[in-house]
């Protein structure tokens, strides 16, 4: 971080005041534009229903309140959906990272018949937009009786050729010699993978896990297609499909939205550095 600040000053040296001032103003204006919708959502969620449906730009007549949150958390389905989302996202993350890491290792460090061919197939499939497969995939889940099950939500999400590719690139940078030393000691491949490769790859595993988790937590289309049972909906799907029988309640719907947004915002706040680093590590942010 300190190095960053030094560089910042190095950059601004020799620039005109107008330039610096303009840059700062632009930054603040942009940031406000990006933050205001969220802040306004938060403000609405802290109003009473009556105020929420009132004029947008006035101070609430009935004061600020956490009522909407209490309502949503005690009466609605939000806690249930939040659990579902959490369960689905964690499962998808664990399974995706596990099978992708194994595959990446297999592709990068071992020899077997058809390896190149299979890897090429995997890479080619990065171009297949999974979304256009919703129709056959739904029909497949139907015939496998997996609609409205957690397995049906989770399994189709764990195929991530991109992650295999990223991890393979990383594994290839790990020196072969470390592995060979262990091999001479008599370690099997699985053992090498777990005791050498995995610990060495923690940053990339972390980065990939975070990407996959964000993706799974926010995934809408597939869970939306494959679930109908209100007890199994994930947060994004539940919020969008199940309606309040007692009419549109703006404060409550904003409170639900904020609650749905919170977990990832906390994750980001906690792991900001790893996430930014993850972009670099994964090779996505390199120049």
């Amino acid at each position: 971080m300190r190095a960053q600040n030094q560089r910042t000053s190095a950059l601004t040296i020799g620039t005109s005041k107008a330039w610096t001032g303009g840059a700062i103003t632009a930054l603040i204006v942009l940031a406000l534009m990006w933050v205001i919708p969220i802040l306004w959502g938060v403000a609405t969620s802290l109003k009473t229903e009556k105020d929420a449906a009132g004029p947008a730009l006035s101070v609430p007549s009935q004061g600020w309140t956490l009522d909407a949150y209490v309502q949503v958390l005690t009466q609605g389905e939000i806690p249930r959906w939040m659990f579902n989302s959490f369960f689905v996202a964690v499962s998808v993350t664990i399974l995706t990272v596990a099978i992708s890491a194994l595959a990446a290792y297999g592709f990068s460090r071992t020899e077997f018949r058809g390896r190149k061919w299979l890897f090429a197939l995997t890479i080619a499939s990065i171009m297949v937009p999974g979304q256009i497969l919703i129709v056959p995939l739904f029909q497949q889940m139907n015939s496998m009786r997996l609609t409205d099950t957690f397995a049906g939500i989770i399994l189709p999400q764990i195929v991530a050729p991109m992650m295999v590719f990223i991890m393979k690139n990383f594994f290839e940078t790990i020196p072969q010699e470390l592995e060979e030393a262990a091999r001479i000691d008599g370690a099997g491949r699985m053992r090498i993978f777990i005791t050498i490769i995995v610990p060495l790859s923690r940053p990339i595993l972390m980065a990939v896990s975070i990407f996959v988790f964000i993706g799974a937590w926010n995934n809408f289309l597939w869970p939306f297609i494959v679930t109908n049972n209100p007890d199994l909906l994930t947060l994004p799907v539940g919020l969008a499909t199940v309606k309040n029988a007692y009419g549109v309640q703006y404060a409550q719907s904003m409170a639900s939205a904020i609650l749905a947004a919170l977990p990832l915002m906390v994750v980001f706040a906690l792991f900001q550095r790893q996430i930014v680093k993850g972009f670099a590590t994964s090779g996505m942010g390199g120049q």
Binding site: T147, D148, T149, R202, P203, N229, K243, A245, G247, K277
Partner: protein, 463 residues
């Protein structure tokens, strides 16, 4: 030597420039991580055991055990009434019910069809009767058991024949109507009185032709100083169609719509109806480019004295105008007919046949439709006739004033793509709306409607 190697290699790899430090750190605590790896495996195993249990219970959620699942698409005053009816039923029968409300229209029916196609649908669900033709032929619904229904006190005689007939497909009963909700006329009695269009009993009864309607509209406009009649259709996905189709039925024009062959309409009569409506929407009697919400705002604020709209708007209108009058759509083209739809209960296909659950579903449907009085408060006409005969209902104004509309209902044509919330209604409404706004003349609008319908009829019937 070996520990030197990584350094040399890493520095040449740009992708790993940054994590170099953490990488070297990881090497030194590799032994420590081994334990943590195994620990995390154990945690993972436990986690999936939990998930396995959950998914098993998720998979069988709708079967044998658990509360009775029912879906509807009611919100606002409809939703409040429905939830209290369900609570009443639960109290009296000791059956636990799990109601779920989904977004109205296409999203609801898409979800219902998808759920039924996988056999994991709710035990009962609300369906617009106009949608039955898209669901029953495809085997997405199960027929009712008349004997079971009779056991819970519901029989054919309890319903208007015209509605009951529409609940069937190929001789089997697939829907039990909760209500009919016609497209009717509301008026502001204060304005109507000043305009001198009320009869001795305080109702408008003078409209028996299109000309009469124009005349009443002009008189009302004179009182309000603006327009006489409200009708909102711009960007609306159904209102224009509702108005047109009901009046077209009054002409006795008739139609044939069968998949695979072109539709037949009486184009002259259809154009006659449209011509009359464009005459009415001349900017003086009614605006020609009003929206749904705008029409209601105009009526409730006294800008107009009469509104053509759905019975479901009654609670909101009554709130604003206590002296609210109502009547079925006046017969202006000869034959009494009133555009209607009906919220009905259906039994979506289940993968597991459980007689006890089916029985409970029948019990639930019977229990809800008998509470028609409560449902009538939201403006709908209870389909269960014994409710209509009670003094309570007979005193419920203005609902009872348009109850007659329920005896001459006109539903959407029974083709698979028609009904509430469909593209069929939407596209036709846009075309008719374009005619009202003056961008299409009536014969061209009719031709365009036929074109839309024929395109849909030419697609294979997927159900």
């Amino acid at each position: 030597m070996k520990h030197e190697l990584p350094r040399a290699r890493y520095s040449s790899e740009q992708a790993t420039k940054r994590p170099l430090g953490s990488l070297l750190g990881s090497i030194s605590d590799a032994t420590f991580s081994r334990r943590s790896v195994f620990r995390s495996f154990a945690v993972t195993a436990g986690f999936f055991a939990l998930g396995g249990g959950l998914s098993a219970c998720g998979g069988s959620g709708h079967a044998a055990e658990g509360p009775l699942q029912t879906w509807d698409l009611f919100s606002g005053s409809d939703g409040i009434s429905m939830r209290s009816m369900i609570a009443n039923f639960s109290n009296e029968s000791a059956v636990t019910v799990r109601p779920v409300t989904l977004a109205w229209g296409s999203p609801y029916y898409t979800k219902l069809a998808m759920a039924a196609s996988s056999g994991k649908a709710p035990d009962t669900a609300i369906m617009h009767l106009s949608r039955l033709a898209g669901f029953a032929p495809g085997g997405l619904l199960e027929p009712y058991d008349l004997e079971l229904l009779a056991e819970f006190g519901v029989r054919e005689d309890d319903f208007a024949p015209a509605v009951w007939k529409n609940c069937h497909y190929e001789g089997q009963l697939f829907a039990i109507p909760l209500d009919t909700h016609p497209f009717v006329v509301f008026y502001n009695k204060d304005i109507a009185e000043k305009a001198g269009v009320l009869d001795g009993s305080g109702a408008i009864s003078s409209i028996t032709s299109a000309e009469d309607m124009i005349e009443v509209g002009q008189k009302l406009a004179k009182v309000t100083g603006k327009q006489g009649v409200s009708f909102g259709h711009v960007l609306d996905s159904a209102q224009s169609w509702r108005l047109f189709w009901g009046l077209y039925a009054q002409t006795g024009g008739g139609y044939t719509m069968e998949v695979g062959s072109p539709a037949v309409l009486d184009t002259a009569k259809a154009a006659e109806v449209l011509t009359f409506l464009t005459q009415m929407m001349d900017g003086k009697i009614a605006l020609k480019n009003q929206t749904y919400a705008g029409a209601i705002a105009d009526f409730t604020s006294g800008t107009t004295g009469l509104i053509l709209s759905g019975a479901w708007e009654m609670p909101a209108l009554k709130d604003a105008i206590p002296n609210l009058g109502a009547m079925p759509m006046p017969t202006m083209f000869g034959t009494p007919a009133n555009y209607s739809d009906s919220h009905s209960y259906v039994l979506p296909r289940q993968v597991s046949d459980d007689p006890q659950r089916r029985r409970t579903a029948h019990q639930f449907v019977a229990g809800i439709i008998k509470q028609g009085q409560k449902w009538a408060e939201a403006g709908h006409i209870p389909a269960y006739l014994p409710v209509q005969e009670t003094p309570d209902y007979q005193n419920l104004h203005p609902q009872v004033d348009y109850a007659a509309a329920g005896t001459t209902p006109v539903f959407d044509p029974p083709v698979w793509f028609s009904g509430a919330g469909t593209d069929f209604q939407n596209q036709l409404s846009q075309t008719i709306s374009a005619c009202f706004q003056g961008t299409l003349d009536p014969p061209a609008a009719v031709a365009s409607m036929l074109e839309i319908i024929n395109k849909m009829l030419s697609a294979p019937n997927p159900s």
